[in-house]
């Protein structure tokens, strides 16, 4: 027992006291001019409409200018990694859906493939196709949710309802496929549990046919909107070097001009069979990230169309032992989740339970970039940047 370890409860935990966390917010001398202005420390969250959950950001402001931020996270910490050590491989599978709950399918895919790697088995081709279809649908759903909330943060109410209307179509497909809408638990280790339902392909095809027009609709509302452009261009800039140094991945990295997508770089499932582009931006600002995600949605549709047309017949489950005992070893497997690189580092000791599961959450790592992205900008930009980072607190805190 670690009773003798440091960190004993010398003082009561007082989460409301901002000074607790302000140790490193010494950000240089305040501007001493003739009219001295006091700095203001503002606690944004954890109960705040625009922090996308229970993120708490302590802002140090000079007027409206942000001098520095500090993120306080962990309000949604559930100890997923500890839970994993006490569950069998199969039993832990549904838990990963609860991390990034808006892209549950991607989480499941990453986990299942990591375990498959440990077990050294391959999912059959049909299962891979189903996986790709559902994952790309989920990417679309995640991006749509992102777009709606991001636009709402910037003050445009209407796109939210448009995106939710269209996201509903995707969730309906999920529901028909596996009975759940959000935390789908769609995949199993070794393949998929369920065969596609009758009319699955038709549903997906219908969606692919209608979706481009709907994405056009969102773009009509925002892309050329003068206020939207003014609010996003040049806001929250981050360079490609900074992105790499900070480990930022996903659309944020691509918007900074790095053409890197795990689906292309280190293909998993059967992404190497599909023909699609990696959209990139140049400036790494909020507007570019917006454009990149919009393009990504179109690319996802492209993958979906190919996948639906080419989906083969065959088994959907590989031969998997009833009791899973992967050989001793460790693997790291990562996939391109809608938010960035989602990795699983798994250590097996040969028993039925993982010895250690480490989740490399994209939101957690991306959130680190918030500070350098908003320094010197205004309070309103903090909101825009939190939105554009597309974080899900369930994944940040795990």
């Amino acid at each position: 027992m670690g009773a003798d370890q440091p960190g004993d409860r010398e003082r009561p935990i007082k989460m409301t006291d901002p000074t607790t966390y302000l140790s490193h917010l010494e950000l240089g001398e305040p501007d001493k001019t003739f009219l001295d202005s006091n700095e203001l420390i503002i606690n944004m969250g954890p109960q705040h409409p625009a922090t996308h959950g229970v993120l708490r950001v302590i802002l140090k402001l000079d007027g409206e200018k942000v001098l520095g931020t500090e993120c306080v996270i962990g309000y949604l910490h559930r100890g997923v990694e500890k839970i994993a050590e006490n569950r069998t491989y199969t039993m832990f599978n549904p838990y990963v859906d609860r991390m990034d709950y808006v892209a549950a399918v991607s989480n499941g895919l990453g986990y299942c493939q990591a375990v498959e790697k440990l077990l050294n088995i391959e999912a059959p081709p049909r299962a891979n196709y189903i996986r790709v279809i559902l994952t790309e649908l989920n990417r679309l759903a995640s991006h749509q949710l992102w777009l709606g909330t991001h636009a709402l943060d910037i003050g445009a109410m209407t796109p939210l309802f448009y995106t939710f209307r269209d996201r509903e179509e995707i969730l309906k497909i999920f529901e028909r496929y596996c009975g759940a809408r959000l935390t789908t638990h769609a995949f199993r280790i070794g393949g998929c549990q369920y065969e596609t339902y009758d009319g699955f392909e038709q549903d997906v095809k219908n969606f692919i046919d209608t979706a481009p027009a709907k994405i056009d609709e969102y773009e009509e509302l925002l892309t050329t909107n003068r206020i939207w452009v003014e609010r996003t261009v040049g806001v929250g800039k981050i360079s490609a070097e900074d992105c790499k140094a900070l480990g930022v991945t996903g659309p944020v990295l691509r918007a900074s001009g790095v053409k890197w997508d795990i689906r292309k770089a280190l293909p998993y499932a059967n992404y190497s069979e599909f023909d699609f582009e990696i959209p990139t931006g140049q400036n790494g600002d909020t507007f570019d990230r917006y454009i990149v995600r919009m393009q990504e949605m179109r690319q996802s549709l492209r993958i979906l169309r190919q996948a639906v047309e080419r989906i083969p017949e065959g088994p959907i489950m590989a031969k998997v032992p009833k009791i899973m005992k992967p050989p001793v070893g460790e693997v790291y497997h990562s996939i391109e989740a809608p938010k960035g690189e989602l990795g699983y580092f798994m250590v097996s000791d040969g028993s039925t339970q993982p010895y250690r599961v480490r989740v490399r959450p994209p939101s957690f790592v991306n959130l680190q970039a918030l500070d350098i992205m908003v320094r010197g900008q205004l309070v309103a930009d903090v909101i825009a940047v939190i939105g554009t980072l597309d974080i899900v607190l369930g994944e940040v805190d795990r």
């Binding site: 409409p49 409206e64 003050g155 448009y162 209307r165 909107n225 939207w228 609010r231 309103a380």
Partner: protein
């Protein structure tokens, strides 16, 4: 006493000018009651229209198509617990919503719904309106400070900076319209609201089209500034929900919060009335000098009645489309009743004595309603400006253009 009351009816002037206290009080009650009802209607309309912009239905439960929703809201707000934060400055906290409410309702004294349909006609009418409506900044500042909390304070700082900034551009635009009133034989203009409309009548043109495009530009500047002045989207930074939770009224709840809302909507209607009075010919019906003659007068005077009949028709279509299910019986009856009331009002409006008196008000209200719709439309379409951008728009674009328009209007006035 009775003579005192009836003596006003013969006079062709506003009760304020006639000095008839009884009718002043009556007018005040009518106007304030009307505005309160308009605010409630606006509330319902905003929720419905916004909902339809956003592919949803909006309130549907309370009454047919949610018609009784504002009443339900009001009841809810009135019965809510009245929370005053512990650390708040209680007196100022209590005073702030009242100041906003007073400021936005007092301006209705000078709004001319018709040549004689105003509480009074102040010689400095427009000045009075701008001055009193600017007092609502005070309420915002007080609310923000008294809450003793960061978000409200920042909200009120933003709000007052915004309102003061846009007041400048707004004032310049107003001055150019007032300048146009002086283009008559005597060369003296007027600040009186009724006088401004009468000037448009005499010059046979709405100031919107006067010295085209000068009047139009001034109007556009005013229309932008008035949105900022009332803290509405896309200039709703003081209450930017995503940044400052609810801005200066974050700590308010229940009745006090509803007073803020009442004040906000009343202010929206008030500034729209200014715009209508200054540029859109106030109570004048469309084309008063193009489509002249007895027939046209009759046609235009029938429009209000037909308008209400149309609304009644829509209500009856709604009745017909209501699901035939016992569950909807009360709603159907309610909607039918509502339609019947609208139809009845329409029929009453056809009666010649009513028709003649009411049509000024109708045209005024109709023009204001266009602005109200625009407010909702903006809110559904635009993202929110950032604070520095807002200031940039106000000081770098609107103000220079407004001054330019003012100078050009003066030159044009001298030349033509």
């Amino acid at each position: 006493m009775l003579d005192y009351i009836t003596s006003y009816l013969g006079m062709n002037t506003t009760p304020g000018q006639a000095g008839n206290v009884f009718w002043v009080v009556v007018y005040i009650l009518v106007v304030f009651g009307g505005v309160s009802v308009a605010v409630m209607a606006m509330n319902w309309l905003e929720r419905k229209a916004l909902a339809h912009f956003q592919i949803r239905l909006g309130p549907m439960r309370v009454g047919p198509h949610g018609l009784l929703q504002p009443i339900a809201d009001a009841v809810k707000l009135l019965t809510k617990e009245d929370i005053i934060p512990n650390e708040a400055d209680k007196f100022v906290f209590w005073l702030a919503p009242l100041i906003i409410l007073c400021a936005s309702f007092t301006v209705y004294i000078v709004i001319p719904f018709g040549p004689t349909h105003a509480v009074t006609d102040l010689n400095i009418g427009i000045l009075f309106m701008l001055g009193v409506s600017s007092l609502s900044v005070l309420g915002v500042v007080m609310a923000g400070w008294a809450s003793n909390s960061h978000y409200p304070l920042i909200g009120s700082l933003r709000s007052s900076a915004q309102m003061i900034s846009y007041e400048v551009a707004m004032g310049m635009a107003v001055v150019s319209a007032i300048l146009m009133t002086s283009l008559n034989k005597t060369g003296t203009g007027t600040l009186s609201m009724i006088g401004i409309v009468q000037a448009q009548e005499q010059q046979q043109i709405w100031f919107l089209f006067k010295f085209f495009p000068l009047g139009f530009i001034a109007f556009v500047i005013f229309a932008i500034a008035m949105v900022a002045e009332t803290n509405r989207a896309p200039f709703d930074l003081p209450e930017a929900e995503s940044e400052l939770t609810a801005g200066f009224h974050t700590e308010y709840s229940g009745l006090r919060w509803s007073l803020f809302m009442l004040g906000e909507y009343a202010a929206m209607i008030a500034v729209s009335s200014i715009a209508v009075t200054l540029w859109l010919g106030g109570w004048l019906r469309p084309f008063p000098h193009v489509l002249v003659g007895e027939t046209w007068d009759l046609v235009f005077s029938l429009i209000p009645g037909f308008c209400f009949l149309g609304l009644a028709l829509i209500a009856f279509i709604g009745v017909a489309r209501m699901p035939k299910h016992p569950y909807f019986r009360i709603q159907t009856i309610g909607l039918a009743g509502f339609g019947a009331v609208l139809g009845l009002i329409g029929l009453i409006l056809f009666a010649p004595p009513v028709r003649d008196r009411i049509q000024d008000i109708f045209w005024f209200v109709a023009k204001v309603a266009v602005f109200m719709y625009l407010y909702i439309w903006y809110r559904a379409t635009f993202p929110r400006y950032r604070f520095d951008q807002l200031m940039k728009v106000g000081w770098k674009y609107l103000l220079p253009v407004a001054i330019g328009v003012l100078i050009l209007t003066a030159i044009a006035g001298v030349i033509f």
